[in-house]
């Protein structure tokens, strides 16, 4: 159990290769801009803060004018809003959902419960600190935060995305061992999601020095890797 605090571990910032081709930079900036202006959020109400999302989405506050719209499945979504306490049972689904989302993906912890357990600090059923299990880009504290606060938070996230600072999803790949360790601590050593995070990290060259470690070794020892069905002749 490595319970080191990750908040001061910086994402392994590879020196962003400013390509000599000016068009490439323009293109990158365009993509970042579009990312910030088009955010699909997952339609998953994990806790009580979800009650303030409909007002933020609907006629009064209208998130769509910022390019934010709800999407149904994790595959389509960019932002995962954890709206409040996560019980252990939910946390498994949250992790599954998070891993199924396509990067770049952003997690927003809404409500105090995601920060430190909030009201349920002594509950036996909830996970207290969300960022021990998945990296969180932004917290919106409050119990529960008002729609204005939610929108304000989303706008901050937009600003971060626009300048390419919202990189916490890379942290998950680069420090997978840490997150997996915390997950194993909670769910037991035979915990396994169907998603092949290590493989993804390798494919997309997001591997860091801490991607693999003692916990991933445990993972590999208990599981048979879920290999995709390759086409065979």
């Amino acid at each position: 159990m490595s319970n080191t605090d990750l908040s001061n571990i910086e994402v392994n910032q590879k020196p962003v290769a400013k390509r000599s081709n000016p068009f490439a930079n323009v293109f990158n900036e365009l993509v970042s801009f579009c990312r910030s202006r088009s955010m699909f959020m997952l339609h998953y109400c994990t806790g009580c803060g979800a009650i303030e999302l409909p007002p933020a989405m609907t006629s009064r506050f209208d998130m769509e004018r910022l390019g934010i719209q709800p999407m149904v499945t994790p595959r389509q979504a960019d932002i995962l809003l954890i709206t409040g306490y996560v019980s252990i049972k939910t946390l498994k689904r949250v992790i599954l959902t998070y891993e199924q989302m396509g990067a770049p993906k952003y997690v927003i912890g809404i409500c105090s419960c995601t920060v430190n357990g909030g009201m349920y600090w002594q509950s036996y059923a909830t996970a207290k600190k969300l960022d021990e299990y998945i990296p969180v880009d932004l917290y919106i504290a409050g119990c529960m935060p008002r729609p204005e606060a939610v929108i304000e938070g989303l706008q901050q996230l937009m600003a971060k995305i626009k300048t390419d600072e919202a990189n916490s999803w890379k942290k998950y790949y680069e420090h997978y061992d840490y997150y997996l360790g915390n997950q194993q601590h909670l769910f037991g050593n035979n915990w396994q999601t169907p998603t092949d995070i290590i493989g993804e990290a390798k494919t997309y060259q997001l591997e860091g020095p801490n991607t693999l470690g003692e916990h991933t070794k445990i993972l590999e020892s208990v599981q048979r890797p879920l290999e995709p069905l390759e086409m065979k002749l």
Partner: protein, 380 residues
């Protein structure tokens, strides 16, 4: 720990397959799941899967002071939190033998009925969305927000007001509140006609909702169905009238019933209840200026407040059905045991499982939403 098996197994040839509704699914209300076995598009078996929102409320409450629990209880049912506070307060007041000032009683009624309207507006938006109709949802939630503004003005909180406490309510109404309340009610009453045209009498919606998830009166009683869902089966039962609490016996209101017992009847009952609630609030607005007196009976130092040993049971009619608290005290500064009888636990588990069987895939979500169960309250 891991029930999932990722290694392929041999499936016997079968006509059935599985589909998961939830927890991450727009067809399910909140963080809740229903696992259905299907044949073609007809459900042959449904298993409710709860526990995603379990926080151990009843245990947590044993660990907090009597007064602290007030801030805990509204979180049990997020869309309709006020009845939770009121009901808990009623139970504790009975236990502690506190006299409730009359003005506080009227204020509580005001708040309860406002909460009921807000919950119903929220509910039918969701119900409309399960049938693919998003405009009522957008309108309904936005109109509900006007009520939340009033809540905020009255209590300081939009959703969780924590306004009630054993002995009364925290403070009196702000100046001019009744006028603004009355204006908002006028607006919402005016909007009801639009909702009727758009949603309640929309022919396609009627066609879809009629005959879906029928509960007969006998089944309803056997399955512990309460609230609007019970009244949709034709049984005129309402805690507000049949076991009056607060000052409901001084108010005039009808208890709308329908006879279909189906999703359509359940929707209609809630639609009619909104009108009744508006009329109740109007009566409160009229009566309130004449009722003088404090809004709270003072309690001793709350941090060291010991409630005499004993037990009490209080029940109220929430927007989802009959809500009750059973509170036991051993004379300490914390409850010895609290049990919550929530209406949704019955609706979302046993009733839903039974109603879903034989349903089409198309109607599963509608069945769930028409029961208006509240998952956080199921799991507690």
């Amino acid at each position: 720990m891991r029930p999932e098996n990722y290694q392929a197994v041999n499936h016997p040839p079968s006509n059935e397959y599985e589909l998961n509704f939830g927890p991450n699914h727009p067809g399910i209300e909140g963080n809740y799941a229903l696992k259905v076995k299907l044949q073609g598009d007809t459900v042959v078996e449904a298993r409710a899967d709860a526990g995603y929102l379990h926080r151990g409320f009843e245990k947590l409450m044993e660990d907090r002071l009597w007064i602290q629990n007030i801030s805990l209880v509204p979180r049990i049912c997020v869309p309709d939190p006020v009845p939770m506070e009121v009901c808990y307060s009623l139970a504790v007041e009975e236990l502690a033998g506190l006299e409730l000032p009359e003005r506080a009683q009227w204020l509580r009624v005001l708040q309860l009925e406002l909460s009921r309207i807000a919950a119903h507006l929220f509910y039918f938006g969701g119900h409309a969305a399960t049938t693919g109709m998003y405009t009522p949802m957008y309108w309904g939630v936005a109109d509900r927000d006007l009520l939340l503004d009033l809540f905020e003005e009255l209590t300081g909180g939009r959703v969780y007001s924590i306004y009630n406490m054993p002995g009364g309510v925290r403070q009196d109404i702000p100046r001019g509140f009744l006028q603004r309340l009355s204006d908002t009610l006028d607006y919402i009453e005016g909007r009801l006609k639009d909702y009727d045209n758009l949603f309640f009498t929309n022919q396609i919606f009627v066609k879809r909702a009629k005959g879906i998830g029928i509960i007969s009166q006998e089944q309803a009683l056997e399955w512990s169905v309460t609230g609007p869902n019970l009244r949709a089966c034709g049984l005129e039962f309402d805690v507000r009238r049949d076991d009056p609490y607060l000052i409901y016996d001084q108010l005039k209101f009808d208890i709308p019933t329908e006879h279909g017992g189906d999703a359509w009847a359940r929707t209609l009952v809630r639609r009619l209840e909104m009108v009744e609630s508006i009329s109740i609030i109007r009566q409160v607005i009229k009566a309130l200026p004449d009722i003088k007196g404090p809004v709270r009976t003072p309690i001793p130092n709350p941090l060291a407040w010991r409630v005499p040993a004993g037990d009490s049971y209080a029940r109220v009619e929430s927007s989802k059905g009959e809500l009750a608290y059973y509170v036991v005290s051993n004379g300490g500064d914390k409850p010895y045991r609290v049990h919550i009888r929530g209406p949704s636990a019955m609706h979302a588990v046993q009733v839903l499982e039974k109603l879903a069987v034989g349903c089409r895939v198309e109607d599963v979500a509608q069945t769930m939403f028409s029961l208006d169960a509240c998952p956080p309250e199921v799991d507690r």
